[in-house]
Amino acid sequence: MTTTPSRSSGEPFLVVENLTVRFPTADGLVQAVSDLSYSVELGKTLGIVGESGSGKSVSSMALLGLHDRKSARIAGSIRLDGEEVVGMSEDKLRRLRGNTVSMIFQDALASLHPFYRIGVQLAEAYEIHHPKATKREARQRAIQMLERVGIPQPDRRVDDFPHQFSGGMRQRAMIAMGLMNDPSLLIADEPTTALDVTVQAQILDLLQDLQREFNSAIIIITHDLGVVAEMVDDVLVMYAGRGVEYGPVKELLTHPEMPYTWGLLSSVPDVTADTNARMIPIPGNPPSLLSPPTGCSFHPRCPHIHKVPGDLCRTALPELEPGPRGGHHLKRCHLVDPESIYETEVLPEIAPDLAEAGGEG
């Protein structure tokens, strides 16, 4: 069943370039996503991190063409296997959705139809993209996928309704639905946020196994940096609709260079942390996207703004460009020497044990 799509060009499977999504509203234009660029290779995982309202979900929905054409203004380019998605006809988009690209939503109970049996909902996804398949084949496929995601007695549970499944099983069923047609790109929007840690671990294991098996590209949208650390290859940190830091996970989480990323790291305690570690919040609230702050959009909440000379942070938007550590690690910040600030000021407060060990992970 696994078919790796023919690669029409040398570029990564998914390339997003200068994506901008704006919604006109009664109060003005909401700039949900501005000038966002990233790419994902087959078999790799990208993690997108940020607060609610930072544009994580909006940018990913654009990949599936899920925004209303009439109300959303989308600019830039999204290329899936070389094919442009922005401006694609609805017909072609429909063939893409659930087939080449599929999405797993956060709230499995709200995303499954309560009146239809699990099996019927799964089979539908298959039948739509395989018009010649019989009902029986589709049902067999549903049972097969339920078994693959670890639902016990799939041949019986396939006829259950969603309410008869537990939270973890519903999420598994959602994943099974997403995988019905062997997608090359799977977008998981907060796939484990509503789940208990033990179930979360099971779902993450499952996603990783499936990726190994199907060699698909995965985008995980989350606010849990722990999940990011363990699951992804590359990380994109978003703030107020823009990418503010982008790089390989190991590099980015051990040598973060953007104060917002520091803030995210310092806001969550660690189960293994030193008890002298502090939880340092990011002051204030996320900005309104109707009138984003001038200059760097993080400047009203940035506790390190005083270290940048003059009014630079308030007036000039920094570029997303390579930091002092080289070409793969991009950051959008005016700070000249973020590394030493992180190691001498931030790290000793949030992880005294690491700082004493020399800061090097």
Partner: protein
């Protein structure tokens, strides 16, 4: 109350008698963020344990069974054993964390303490009153002392009441201050929780999630409670806001000496806030102890599995996933829980005795109790049940006359000076071995034993 109804909040800024307000959010000065050093100084490190603190609440053998009715005859056909024999102590000015998966009974426990439910059995001693049996009329004055912060800041505030009326209503109900001073007190409270006191006439929908949670905290603080039950107070908030609220709770705890029962499923937040933690599974406490015992020396397989399931940011330095203990399956139904140890159906160490006997919550260290027949640190679980002889059984759980039963020594509520040392398999007192050895009738046992 009508005096506080707003003309309309939007007109605030144009009113001449009002001082100038920051644009929309009064929470922080909007334009300038504090310097990093100031920010650090305003935060707290993990809370520390005061081992000598007096208990403010002693819960013993608390039970809550919800009846399951048959749909036709409306007869009770079973019970959901939501909380089944839970005992713990909350120290004055301290915080006890209650963790566990959803459906383990941790929220129900919180609601029992605030008497939103009447417990089926057990006792909850609070300042000489048993909250479990007290009548609702006698409970009313005590509600001042026991308050609650709810999980969802969106559904726990009445959208049609102003903040002033929400925070002020406990003051009026309990006649804490004369009617004409309610507003002043409300503004004081709003300031304590870091909101702009001028915003008393706004409605909940004008605030963000974090600000609403602050309103909920202000309401709980209004009556100057001695005990606060915080049920997942930060779970619904964004990560960056979670830290703000946790620091605020630590502020008020220090300032007013409030004791907390902190219910959450986020093990890392609980670890930061609570020097003592109880782990619940299916209505029972399976392990309870101080922070170090639970997080560094967990002895119960369930606690170990929970801890190992938490994704770790530090893993980024190594790459890949952490080795973890995998739990299979789901939590069994509390209507029909497994016999013996409730965790046995998902436990890799389970043996015959686990199905026969429920393991007692045994004290195994100065501040550490665990309920497991095979308690041990990861990789060091014993082969033979540690509890068998105490229960008067042999290793498979059959009666064995050759052993003597253990009294209440190591299983009383709270912690005692005598506990069962796992390494030597004997009762020890304050760290030194009891001369009685395994006879377990040493002179250090409580007189009634």
């Amino acid at each position: 109350m009508t005096a506080q109804l707003p003309d309309h909040a939007e007109n605030d800024e144009h009113r001449p008698d009002q001082p100038e307000l920051p644009p929309a959010d009064g929470e922080q000065p909007v334009d300038v963020a504090p310097e990093f050093e100031e920010l650090v100084a305003s935060t707290h490190t993990a809370a520390e344990l005061d081992p000598l603190a007096e208990p403010v609440l002693t819960v013993e053998n608390l039970k809550m069974y919800f009846p399951v009715k048959s749909p036709l005859l409306r007869r009770t056909i079973g019970h959901v054993q939501a909380v089944d024999g839970v005992s713990f102590v909350i120290p004055k000015g301290g915080a006890l964390g209650l963790v566990g998966e959803s459906g383990c009974g941790k929220s129900t426990t919180g609601q029992l303490i605030t008497r939103l439910y009447t417990p089926t059995g057990g006792s909850m001693m609070f300042e000489g009153h048993d909250l479990a049996t007290i009548s609702l009329k006698d409970m009313k004055p005590l509600r001042r002392d026991v308050q609650m912060i709810f999980q969802d800041p969106y559904s726990s505030l009445n959208p049609r009441h102003t903040v002033g009326s929400i925070v002020g209503s406990p003051l009026r109900v309990h006649k804490m201050v004369p009617g004409n001073q309610v507003l002043a007190r409300v503004q004081e409270l709003l300031e304590v929780v870091g909101l702009n006191p001028e915003h008393y006439n706004r409605y909940p929908n004008e605030f963000s999630g974090g600000q609403r949670q602050r309103i909920g905290i202000a309401r709980a603080l209004a009556l100057q409670p001695k005990l606060l039950v915080a049920d997942e107070p930060v779970s619904a908030l964004d990560v960056s806001i979670q830290a703000q609220v946790v620091n605020l709770l630590q502020d008020v705890q220090k300032e007013f000496g409030i004791s907390f029962l902190f219910i959450a499923h986020d093990l890392a937040v609980v670890r930061h806030f609570c020097p003592e933690i109880a782990v619940m599974y299916l209505g029972k406490i399976v392990e309870i102890g101080d922070r170090d015992s639970i997080y560094s020396h967990a002895h119960h397989p369930y606690t170990q599995a929970l801890l190992s399931a938490v994704p770790d940011v530090k893993q980024a330095a190594i790459g890949g996933r952490r080795e973890r203990i995998r739990l299979t399956g789901d939590v069994p139904s509390p209507v029909n829980p497994p016999s013996g140890c409730r965790f046995r159906t998902r436990c890799s160490f389970a043996q015959e005795i686990c199905a026969r006997h429920e393991p007692p919550l045994l004290q195994i260290g100065p501040r550490h109790k665990v309920a497991c027949h095979f308690a041990g640190e990861v990789g060091q679980h014993p082969v033979r049940p540690i509890t068998a002889r105490m229960l008067g059984e042999d290793d498979t759980g059959h009666p064995d006359d050759g052993t003597s039963r253990l009294g209440e020594a190591a299983t009383a509520v709270g912690y005692t000076d005598t506990w069962f040392d796992l390494r030597s398999q004997t009762i020890v007192t304050g760290g030194r071995k009891d001369t009685g050895g395994t006879s377990m009738t040493g002179e250090n046992l409580p007189p009634q034993a």
